[in-house]
């Protein structure tokens, strides 16, 4: 694995290789003059030529159809009074009734409010952390220390939510270290795991612990792309470290910050589902129910399939619109946007 370190770095801008049609024409010793003809081959000839490639694509394509697109069509149960024993065909069509019920359900509004509170708090508290951390890491001169700290802060990203919640209960829970510490300092006991009012903060702290380090990757890349000559020129002109940070570094990574901020706004209806579903019952649905857990508990647990699917569908559609508009907005800001990657060039 060490021999090919040069090729281990896929450079962005995926399409820099030799254009395949040109290359295609050259195979089997045909003269290069034939090069431009690749596209004009008959459909059958192209299928025959690419049959191996098409066969290789087939399993993956089948997977996406069966587990992403067919279930997407299954959202039709949002318009049904779905009964499992009747199935899709025989369940009664109720039109928009499920959606009307949704808007009259207090629990839905509660879940929506909780979702927005948590994502809003994460935007305010989580979002700046990877940026500051990346600035700090970037300022470390010693290669070895920086790599070590990077490894340490990346590690929690790979730990699953079940483990993280268990670890947090051990440290913050009723019998954990922090409540005892508070008590020995003469402060009131405080169980961070089960206090409803603290739940959004708890969720945010856990997210920061898990992913703030991992989140630095993109900012570190952006920091490396800042033109080094600017720093040198500024230093020569007498700018100190703070000036350089303010006038070179921050403007240099601002496009990436704005892009990620916009994309975060686009996913404002989504909170880590596994994280919440594990802890919802510690604080009760009043504080711990978010849209995704609402769908799970009302639909799959309580069997209100139609109404819960309606909530899921609305969330999905609004989420899609938000992400697409966020991406559009990012384009307006002159960024490439995340979903343009690899589509075409």
């Amino acid at each position: 694995m060490s021999s090919n370190s040069q090729t281990l770095t896929p450079q962005a801008g995926t399409d820099v290789g030799i254009p395949a049609p040109v290359a295609e024409g050259r195979r089997r010793g045909r003269p290069p003059a034939d090069a431009g003809q690749g596209r004009k081959k008959s459909l059958m000839a192209r299928i025959r030529r690419d049959k191996v490639m098409l066969l290789l694509i087939a399993p993956g394509f089948l997977y996406f159809v069966v587990f992403h697109y067919v279930p997407l069509a299954g959202n039709i149960i949002a318009f049904l009074d779905y009964k499992p024993y009747l199935g899709f065909v025989d369940s009664v069509w109720v039109g928009l009734e499920n959606f009307a019920a949704m808007f009259q359900d207090g629990a839905f509004w509660e879940a929506l409010r909780n979702t927005l509170v948590i994502t809003g708090l994460q935007l305010a508290l989580f979002f700046p952390v990877p940026i500051c951390l990346a600035l700090l890491l970037n300022s470390i001169v010693s290669n070895r220390i920086r790599k070590f700290v990077q490894s340490v802060v990346y590690l929690p990203h790979f730990i699953g939510w079940v483990i993280i919640v268990a670890v947090f209960s051990e440290v913050l829970g009723a019998t954990g270290a922090v409540p005892h510490l508070l008590e020995s300092l003469g402060l009131p006991r405080f169980d961070a795991m089960t206090t409803p009012g603290f739940f959004p903060f708890l969720v945010t702290i856990q997210s920061i612990w898990k992913d703030a380090g991992w989140g630095t990757i993109i900012f570190l890349a952006a920091l490396m792309n800042v033109d080094q000559e600017l720093y040198e020129a500024a230093a020569v002109d007498g700018a100190n470290a703070r000036h350089r940070l303010w006038h070179i570094t921050l403007p240099g990574i601002m496009p990436v910050i704005i892009l990620l901020l916009i994309l975060n706004l686009g996913s404002i209806l989504s909170v880590g589902f596994e994280q919440i579903v594990l802890q919802r019952d510690n604080v009760g649905p009043g504080a711990g129910e978010v849209l995704d857990t609402y769908v799970y508990f009302h639909g799959i647990q309580d069997g209100q399939w139609g109404p819960a699917a309606a909530v899921g569908l609305v969330k999905g559609i609004v989420g899609l619109v938000l992400v697409l508009s966020a991406n559009k907005l990012a384009h307006l800001f002159g960024q490439e946007g995340v979903y343009s990657n690899g589509k075409s060039k």
Partner: protein, 309 residues
């Protein structure tokens, strides 16, 4: 990020050359140096302390945990009693074996399917190539929703089968894009030459592309493996408790504190705190073992190229 490939390369060059301070950079004041060092120590402590606390507790006796009010950092008399109890057989051992099997098989399947599709999509004028690519990419934009996904698994007759843990999350479009963009940045002349010599597409993939792609395969494999290892929700939805993987055992007996195993089985009814933490440690071990071998790819920036163009 106008020209990502060249900027990334220069960024990497800088990474290597960075050990010495640039000439123009003044030596920071001692106060700044010290506060930076303190900040780094605190950050590392915050990241590692919870894990160390769990490890220490798992090695402590019940009385020591009680005496220390739950805060054990250095057990005075480390004991492996908790681990002995767990590995004496029973629920946790079975679940551990199941988790290892699911993770291995799942990761292998996922990597094979991802590599195959990614390679297929590298052909530019492939019939329907753009359609196949878009089909995959659009799944990054929407989720079909919990209920339709659940019903799909049910309709396929996968309830209470291990396939329900693997098939619904077989591939991620993100990993597909990572692998595909890596393949497309390999030196294509090599493969052209092989083609002229009469090698078929499949042979080029197996004999030329894959040996050049070990780094990206390791990273994507790690992503899948971590996903399978940590997943508990699908197990909770689809499996009966006799098929539970370790993550579900963790949820049931550690988070919910339910009694472990049948009362008939010779296992402690309510697991002690040390045993609970030992289960956490066991589920952490594979991650902590694998991570050091792969983290260098992250610090090196394997992913930054693919995360966004």
């Amino acid at each position: 990020m106008a020209n990502p490939s060249s900027t990334l390369a220069s960024g990497l060059g800088r990474l290597k050359a960075k050990d010495t301070r640039p000439i123009w950079m003044e030596k920071p004041k001692p106060a700044v140096q010290v506060s930076k060092a303190i900040a780094l120590v605190i950050i590392c402590f915050l990241a590692l302390y919870p894990l160390l606390a769990v490890l220490a507790t798992s090695l402590s006796s019940q009385s020591e945990i009680a005496n220390n009010n739950g805060l054990v950092l250095f057990p005075k008399e480390p004991t492996f009693a908790a681990y002995q109890t767990i590995f004496a057989g029973g629920v946790v051992t079975d679940a551990l074996i199941r988790s290892l099997l699911i993770t291995t098989v799942g990761t292998a399947l996922s990597v094979v399917v991802t590599v195959a599709m990614a390679y297929g999509l590298t052909r530019r004028d492939l019939v329907g190539g753009r359609f196949f690519l878009m089909t995959a990419l659009f799944t990054m934009l929407f989720s079909p929703g919990i209920i339709p996904s659940f019903l799909m698994v049910k309709e396929l007759g996968l309830l209470d089968s291990y396939a329900a843990l693997v098939l619904p999350t077989l591939m991620s479009a993100f990993n597909l894009v990572v692998v595909r963009s890596f393949f497309m940045n390999l030196p294509q002349e090599l493969f052209e030459a092989a083609k002229i010599d009469g090698a078929g597409d499949f042979r080029i993939l197996v004999q030329m592309v894959l040996p050049l792609s070990r780094g990206v395969l390791a990273v994507v494999g790690l992503f899948y493996a971590v996903g399978y290892w940590n997943a508990f929700f699908n197990a909770m939805l689809y499996l009966n408790d006799d098929k539970w993987p370790l993550s579900m055992i963790l949820r049931q007996y550690v988070l919910l504190g339910q009694p472990m195993g049948d009362s008939a089985v010779a296992e402690i009814a309510v697991p002690s705190q040390a045993i609970q933490m030992a289960v956490v440690v066991i589920s952490l071990i594979p991650i902590v073992i694998v991570f050091p071998f792969l983290q260098r790819y992250f610090t090196k920036g394997v992913l930054t190229g693919a995360i966004k163009g």
